[in-house]
């Protein structure tokens, strides 16, 4: 399954019309100890690059943007009690929400893993 990234450091993995969304390992590392994840409400519809939720660490608070348009069908409730999972496994167990994707062609607006790795070098 391919992974795509936004410039704001969200990732998305798409399988059978469902997009799993989270923040990149790089972002989790930059934030430091994550203390709170604001999960979206199930049923919420978002457009690509709109605010989906939020994340807080000891150092900072920031918004999480939707990498693709869609409707929230599932959220990672484990993060309510244990947001540190995002530090431990940002691009796997630390997923935040599943979106029912509305337009798969939006993925072309995102970066592949290689492009994202190159992008990180420019920051």
């Amino acid at each position: 399954m391919s992974i795509y990234f936004t410039k704001e450091h969200e990732w998305v993995k798409v399988k059978e019309g469902i997009a799993a969304v989270g923040i990149s390992e790089h972002a989790a590392h930059e934030l430091g100890d994550i203390t709170f994840v604001e999960l979206p409400k199930i049923g919420k519809s978002v457009k690509q690059f709109e605010v989906l939720g939020g994340i807080e660490s000891v150092k900072a608070a920031s918004d999480i943007y939707a990498p693709v348009s869609g409707k929230v069908v599932k959220v990672n409730e484990a993060l309510d009690a244990a947001p540190e999972i995002v530090n431990e496994s940002a691009e796997d167990a630390g997923w935040m929400a599943w979106l029912e994707i509305s337009d798969e062609s939006e993925l072309k607006n995102l970066m592949t893993q290689d492009q994202y790795d190159e992008y990180l070098k420019t920051l």
Partner: protein, 363 residues
């Protein structure tokens, strides 16, 4: 113009440890090594070592009363017994806090004044301008300072430097030989845990750092963890919670003001006492894990009534905690507040300080 950051004698060691560095009070300081939460937990359970060489130290030698030092601070210097220290304030004429500081009575006619890094230059000028005699020297550059804090710190110190350390009560200090130099070991700190502040010649501080870190109960901790630790026990941070526009009465720190003596700013404080303060410090707990942060708005029944000066996620309480300033009538335990910033909103309740009460501080 950007001023060049000052560095402590341990700067290279922090970089070798891959610490995240950032400017603090004009100094290039370590914010974290392993991580803020891990360093915080280590300090609450083991012993954390902090590089505090950035803080300022002045020495005054003279006749406290005749030379005017007695009237400089909000507390009496002459009544501090030799071997003890006292916390209080240097105020401006309006009663605003120029700095919060600790005075150590070294000898009959000699004290060491320990001040914040960012304020050290203006503190020196203010103190000097109020003296009629004696000798005030800034010894910051020659003085190294390490804080070792945490319930294990007494065992570490006793095993490293001898049983004498075990006898030091809270807010008392001893002068002893460390690494062949005269050092001050003081039972004070900024974490709410049992701990020591060690002052010794700057050229020896690297050796002491290495020596203490050889003990596996000791790990380095940065200013990030230090901020969480101090806020959990409700200590004020100069520049965030208190500053020149804030008086000790507004900040709930009247206990460190002695109205039975003269000091600069006393008239202003007496007036404020009579007329009442227009804002008061308030402490609050957030319902949930969100963190209040500096400058977030404090609201009550829909109106903005103040702002947050310090806030953090408290690992000990597992919720957000903060302090800020509001109208005095709202600074009542149990008052429900809403903390707001852009699209972030959190419910909070006014509570007592300290947030965290079970530290090893006085054990």
């Amino acid at each position: 113009m950007e001023e060049k950051l000052q560095v402590t004698p341990l700067n290279g060691r922090h970089r070798d440890l891959k610490a995240l560095m950032a400017p603090f009070g004009g100094w290039d300081m370590p914010i974290q090594y392993e991580g803020i939460i891990a360093e915080h937990a280590w300090c609450r359970t083991q012993a954390a070592l902090f590089d505090i060489c950035h803080m300022g130290e002045f020495v005054f030698q003279g006749d406290f009363e005749a030379d005017g030092l007695e009237d400089v601070f909000t507390f009496s210097v002459k009544t501090i017994p030799v071997g003890r220290s006292r916390y209080g304030f240097l105020l401006n004429e309006q009663g605003g806090i120029i700095d919060d500081l600790i005075v150590f009575r070294l000898a009959e006619n000699r004290v060491m004044i320990v001040v914040n890094a960012a304020t050290a230059p203006k503190d020196f000028v203010a103190i000097q301008s109020r003296l009629r005699g004696g000798l005030l020297s800034n010894v910051t550059a020659d003085t190294g300072k390490l804080d070792i804090q945490g319930p294990m710190s007494r065992y570490v110190m006793v095993e490293t430097f001898g049983a004498e350390v075990a006898t030091i009560p809270y807010f008392k200090f001893i002068t002893m030989d460390i690494l062949g130099c005269q050092a001050i070991v003081s039972r004070t700190g900024y974490t709410g845990e049992l701990g020591y502040e060690i002052f010794l010649p700057a050229e020896k501080v690297g050796e002491l750092w290495d020596l203490l870190l050889q003990d596996e109960r000791v790990k380095p901790a940065g200013l990030g963890a230090r901020d969480v630790l101090r806020l959990e026990v409700g200590y004020s941070l100069y520049g965030s919670d208190i500053d020149e526009s804030t008086t000790p009465l507004e900040a709930g720190l009247e206990g460190f003001v002695n109205f039975d003596k003269e000091f600069v700013g006393k008239d202003a404080l007496l007036r404020q006492k009579q007329q009442g303060v227009s804002r008061s410090k308030v402490a609050f707990k957030v319902a949930g894990r969100r963190s209040p942060r500096h400058h977030y708005e404090i609201c009550f029944e829909g109106d903005t009534v103040g702002s947050v000066t310090s806030g953090v996620f408290s690992p000990m309480l597992a919720c957000g905690v903060g302090i800020g300033f509001v109208k005095p009538e709202l600074a009542v335990i149990g008052t429900p507040l809403t903390i707001r910033h852009e699209r972030v909103s959190m419910e909070a309740t006014v509570c007592e300080l300290p947030f965290f009460r079970d530290g090893s501080l006085r054990s």
